[in-house]
Symmetry: C3
Subunit: 342 residues, 3 copies
Amino acid sequence: MSTIQFSVAELAERFALEFKGDGARLIDGVGTLAGAGPSQLSFLANSKYAAQLASTHAGVVVLGADALASCPTSALIAHDPYVTYARIAALFERLPAAAQGVHPSAVIAPGARVSATASVGPCCVIEDGAIVEDGAVLGPHCIIGSECIVGAQSRLVARVTLVTRVTLGKRVLVHPGAVIGSDGFGLAFDRDHWVKLPQLGGVRIGDDCEVGANTTIDRGALDDTVLEEDVRLDNQIQIAHNVYIGAHTAMAGCAAVAGSAKIGRYCMIGGNAGVLGHLEVADRVTITAKSLVTHSIREAGEYSSGVPLQENRQWRRNAARFKHLDEYARRLSALEKDNNDD
Amino acid sequence: MSTIQFSVAELAERFALEFKGDGARLIDGVGTLAGAGPSQLSFLANSKYAAQLASTHAGVVVLGADALASCPTSALIAHDPYVTYARIAALFERLPAAAQGVHPSAVIAPGARVSATASVGPCCVIEDGAIVEDGAVLGPHCIIGSECIVGAQSRLVARVTLVTRVTLGKRVLVHPGAVIGSDGFGLAFDRDHWVKLPQLGGVRIGDDCEVGANTTIDRGALDDTVLEEDVRLDNQIQIAHNVYIGAHTAMAGCAAVAGSAKIGRYCMIGGNAGVLGHLEVADRVTITAKSLVTHSIREAGEYSSGVPLQENRQWRRNAARFKHLDEYARRLSALEKDNNDD
Amino acid sequence: MSTIQFSVAELAERFALEFKGDGARLIDGVGTLAGAGPSQLSFLANSKYAAQLASTHAGVVVLGADALASCPTSALIAHDPYVTYARIAALFERLPAAAQGVHPSAVIAPGARVSATASVGPCCVIEDGAIVEDGAVLGPHCIIGSECIVGAQSRLVARVTLVTRVTLGKRVLVHPGAVIGSDGFGLAFDRDHWVKLPQLGGVRIGDDCEVGANTTIDRGALDDTVLEEDVRLDNQIQIAHNVYIGAHTAMAGCAAVAGSAKIGRYCMIGGNAGVLGHLEVADRVTITAKSLVTHSIREAGEYSSGVPLQENRQWRRNAARFKHLDEYARRLSALEKDNNDD
């Protein structure tokens, strides 16, 4: 594999940054402050790592102007070092080039439409009525069901299943094991057994969304399940039928949203947090890890539930008391009344 | 795709319902009260949506007799409008017809037995000793391991893996990414390392069960893991080895049941709820979302754990106090004693 | 399938155990105390099952010397009956023999290297630069991405995806649906939208590790995500980028570890427990089910969070009081002050 190289001065020019130090130094990769070598670029975005700056062997460090004085090597000065680092690092990513065209082992139904500039990997299955647009890349083992559309430049890394009536926008990135468009969990109880409600809607996913490994997104019962643009879902997330997620919202691993909940824009949902069905969450709400949203949230802000971790014996004592909290509150009030009556 | 159409009078007759209004109106689909048009059927099953009835443009609405007076259009009167709607809506579901027979890309071991009326999709793998019964449908990329049986009329939507010794009853529906019959998590600790316990049992799944996308059901260590009939599992559920789930129990997304737990019939397990190993849960128990069942439950009823969601700063203050709850209870008792001693 | 048989005396000799009773009795399988028949071996490792010993019909029971007197049949006396049982039971496991060589439906890139003694199942895809070592077994539908190594004697049961830069040690066992080496969830927020951080690291998994069904392990952003040897992960676990897990640690189903957390050796992480990012957990720490680790743990021991399950109406009363816990604590202190001032 040929090496990608940029001089510090080239990077400064390309990203419109000021630099200090050796503009001619060649950079061929990125690394942590502790691990980067003289041909690598590193970054300081979190003051927690400031102590590592003094001893770094990186060839150049992306940092804020305030950290420049402590930098023992060349520096690229950025307003937001983390964002700038992200953009520079992308230059050094080596994605295996996807071969244009359809792998001979793929199975394409006669009624499917695959762009000539798309790439379809080994053992993919594309069903009747599916559309794969220009420049889309399907890694091995993807299944594109009927009435599904993979938007231009989208990338399904490998083994992604779009069941039916799923529309992906442009530049959507889906990781292995994700299932999009599976049946919503709709059941009616008929005296002594369940009757399934057919799931007649679809899923619409906006441009620039990302869907993590083994994440599941059910299609709607009647209307569609919707992710607006630039929604970012980590691994093993569950999105139930008819959920609506606003643009730029990010959800960490193992979060779950129950049916028909509506999440605003620019929200941050922590790992393994949950949102109950039919609730609404306003824009710019942060939910901390493992919290359960049990009522609609009307105002931006940070919300939490749960109790702190403790050593097990201490925790047991406190947890046992929780079962009597209502009684304690009453007894406390009674005591106060007694004291006031005295 | 040809349109399916029924007149209101035909629907009334087929489902033994009384109707009011225009029996000749043709219905070709279903929709929400807010979204349905004049050729669509809607329903009112939840009084929360009663306000939408007056302004609906649906051609006909399934509702209870008590709502008839407020209905601006034709009506089908049902004892249980939700169940009736579910049955009618099924008429309008367009499932892609599965081609009978085995797709040429499927790999069928010589010792496998596949019914001539079954459908086996692209890239399926059926191993020696597996049986696929009449009318069963395997979508693309299903793997049926040795000694597995797919019962008649069962449907594995796509990319389902039955590992070994898995028996599915009739009309079982399994969604993409589900893994059934994987190794139970059995380990013995031998001084300084783990020794694996072979998982020699299987999985038995009754008629009319449903298994959600990316749900996992491990096979038993010695005896089988069992789901009785009409058990309904949503997505991303984890069922450990030797769990036993009674008929008609439904579990919402991301719930988990640890090894050898026994869940009764007609239970409802909420999203991301958990049941610890070796416990028993009686019939008709409801567990609310994210609760953890830490002891056996002997009586029907609704059970919960967890603390309410709050704005983060308030929550922090309360959560910090939780660590001292036992101390507070003692101090409260001491105060009461003091007061009584006075 | 031919029957595997051992006499009780042969088992005693092979595992260096003392036996009592009929050494000539032939054993062809294993079972529970309640279920085993006269040609089967059972075990007593948990005093909870001691009552079942008297009525067992097993041909021989593995037990501790203290239980010998109550054993109605032949016995194999073990220091650790559970470990010994695990080793004996392994003799009776019937794994389908993997055919050596590459199935004709597998797709092997010209730049991949597959040992002649490895087994590659139907529809596997092995990309350029991947290596499959001696005796490794890939079941159907495995995808081995570029720069991935499957160590000698490792077994990928079926439908396992190694995305890129993943190294599995020797004798690693991976269950269906697992995704290893997917993108870590790294995002930088640039004023009004997300910018993705390229994930340039890999995953290193030590010898004798086990990875459960539908478990996901992301590759590192810069350095690698690491599992030392003999780490045991159950199903549906999420391991984020740059996590480091010490040797012999076991995690139960649906546990999750956020980015850059470092877990010690010989830890036990309960089902659906979580560890927040960048924390450190010492060796020999046990976390109980559904607990959330919110701060680093420096000492071995058992840790918990959560509140106990209660009948819903009682729980509601207590949970509502939790929202005022800080206020109650203040009021309690005020009362105490009042009383002292009296």
